[in-house]
């Protein structure tokens, strides 16, 4: 309940064109007791990450010890260290001006990130001590600006052409080919922009399978991209499941962007998979789906195999992705008791395995 109040009262930081505005007619069910997301408020992507602040610390250090020093920082409490590449040409220009500088005295900056409760000064001094530095290097600490990296991440998202006349287009761009099947997305921080090989593989699989009128299940829906694509290809209905509430939020928003009516797409928040309660409380009918795709990771697709297959009708097609080609043999072995006519598509190191559910 307190989570609900938190969302309701949080001042909306406006990400300008990146606002997640969710229309009130959509809703989703949660199989865990809801800290229910009331979706009539305007939400912004960064809202959920206000609870994840960090410290951005810039540390000056002599160039010749940057490697041991950054390793030491990681040992003593830094979450990450980044060093800009030493630009030889720039340094040569500077030498003319400051002819006194020698290699050892050249300083570079380490950009590091610390957890917000960490004692930065102590960490830096312990790290310096451990490599025999006589003085504590100069540093300054700022509260991390999450708006900055979230925005930069969103800006990377460009329209992607998956196949002829099938495009994935960010919410803030107009479709390059207006007559194509365009799936409009604001992925937020959920997986599925169309750029990743596994998303492409699953989209192509879906395009080949959906003839019209199918019931589709997207297990691990992320941004909802597959569930929405299925409907655009002509499926009768889509269902999406994910363990991440942010994914459900993102999928909701993307469904609205693509004018998907409520009755065509239902979304469910599943409890995180552990060995015992493998999402047994998801309120979806068994053996009702014509196509089921799970684009997740090796461990969940292995653990949840029986569960994922249980939703498919006999004779339905099941697609499994998010796995590397080296992991394929394990997955094939796990799923072959249930599937026949197994085929595999590959892009780079990633594969998508599909087969039909055995009838008996």
């Amino acid at each position: 309940m307190s989570a609900w109040h938190f969302i309701k009262h949080f001042p909306c930081t406006n990400l300008s064109r990146h606002i997640l505005r969710v229309k009130p007619r959509r809703c989703f069910t949660s199989s865990t007791p809801p800290s229910s997301f009331s979706i009539s408020a305007s939400l912004s992507t960064s809202e959920s990450f206000a609870a994840a602040p960090y410290l951005s610390v810039r540390i000056h250090c002599p160039k010749h010890i940057v490697d041991p020093f950054s390793e030491a920082l990681l040992c003593f409490g830094a979450s990450s260290v980044a060093v800009d590449e030493y630009d030889e040409e720039e340094e040569e220009e500077e030498e003319d001006v400051t002819s006194e500088s020698s290699l050892a005295s050249r300083e570079i900056c380490i950009e590091s990130i610390f957890p917000v409760h960490e004692e930065v000064k102590m960490c830096i001094s312990q790290a310096a001590n451990s490599i025999g530095l006589k003085e504590i290097p100069k540093f300054n600490v700022e509260l991390g600006d999450e708006q900055d990296w979230i925005t930069k991440n969103q800006e990377l998202f460009q329209p992607v052409e998956i196949a002829e006349r099938l495009w994935i287009v960010p919410e803030w761009t107009s479709p390059p080919v207006a007559e194509a099947v365009n799936i409009i997305l604001n992925p937020g921080l959920a997986f599925g922009t169309g750029e990743h090989p596994t998303t492409k593989l699953c989209l192509l699989l879906l395009q080949s399978l959906i003839k019209g009128g199918e019931a589709f299940l997207d297990y691990g829906t992320g941004s909802g991209i597959l569930a929405i694509a299925a409907l655009k290809f002509g499926a009768a209905s889509s269902a999406g499941v994910d363990i991440d509430p942010l994914a459900i939020k993102s999928a909701n928003h993307n469904a609205a962007l693509n004018n998907i009516p409520l009755e065509k797409l239902e979304l469910h928040l599943a409890p995180p998979s552990d060995n015992s309660s493998c999402g047994t409380e998801i309120p979806l009918p068994k053996e009702q789906f014509d196509v089921v795709i799970a684009n997740i990771l090796l461990n969940p697709v292995m653990e949840l195999a029986d569960h994922i297959i249980s939703f498919a009708k006999p004779g339905a097609t099941i697609g499994i992705s998010g796995i590397l080609s080296e992991q394929l043999p394990m997955v094939k072995e796990r799923y072959s008791p249930f599937l026949e006519d197994i085929s595999v598509a590959t892009i780079g190191d990633w594969v998508c395995m599909s087969g039909t559910k055995k009838k008996s």
Partner: protein
């Protein structure tokens, strides 16, 4: 986008080197991964998916040491190493720190079986792959001893 080493036909310009610790299978677009990679405009989701897929074989939440080379065209490559031997030794022994006087004061003991299990994990590290298991075991015993942790045949 993540690219395999074999795709480099020409030497790409490196923008930065980023090092961080990420729990196996647990990369998320949140601090520290988010800001560390976001600053250099690297594709966060691609990294998370890639890293999580490649660390499926490790026990979840094991802190993996990641080194990312970010190129000026926003592409990147990364290598993943399992935690240091001293981390594994401390974990196996159930201690927070090694001995304050290694060689004189023994904090606790581990069995040769522990050493073997740790060696098996380290063998799948890049840069470690060609070392014979026996050499890795010897190095682990050395590290344990230097922390004041004795190796015994069997824990009784």
């Amino acid at each position: 986008m993540a690219a395999a080493a074999k795709d480099i036909a020409t030497r790409r310009a490196v923008a930065a080197t980023i090092k961080l610790t990420v729990p196996a299978g647990g990369a998320r677009p949140a601090p520290p991964v988010g800001p560390a990679l976001g600053q250099y405009r690297l594709n966060l989701m691609a990294f998370c998916k890639d890293f999580n897929a490649r660390t499926q074989k490790y026990k979840p939440e094991t802190p993996m040491a990641v080194k990312i080379t970010a190129y000026k065209d926003n592409s990147f490559e990364f290598t993943v190493k399992s935690p240091s031997v001293s981390w594994y030794v401390k974990k196996a022994a159930g201690v927070e720190k090694g001995s304050t006087r290694p060689g004189h004061l023994t904090v606790t003991t581990l069995s040769v079986r522990h050493v073997y299990e740790i060696a098996k994990v380290k063998q799948s590290d890049p840069f470690c792959g060609y070392m014979p298991l026996e050499s890795i075991c010897k190095s682990i015993v050395g590290t344990a001893n230097s922390m004041g942790i004795k190796i015994v045949q069997d824990l009784e």
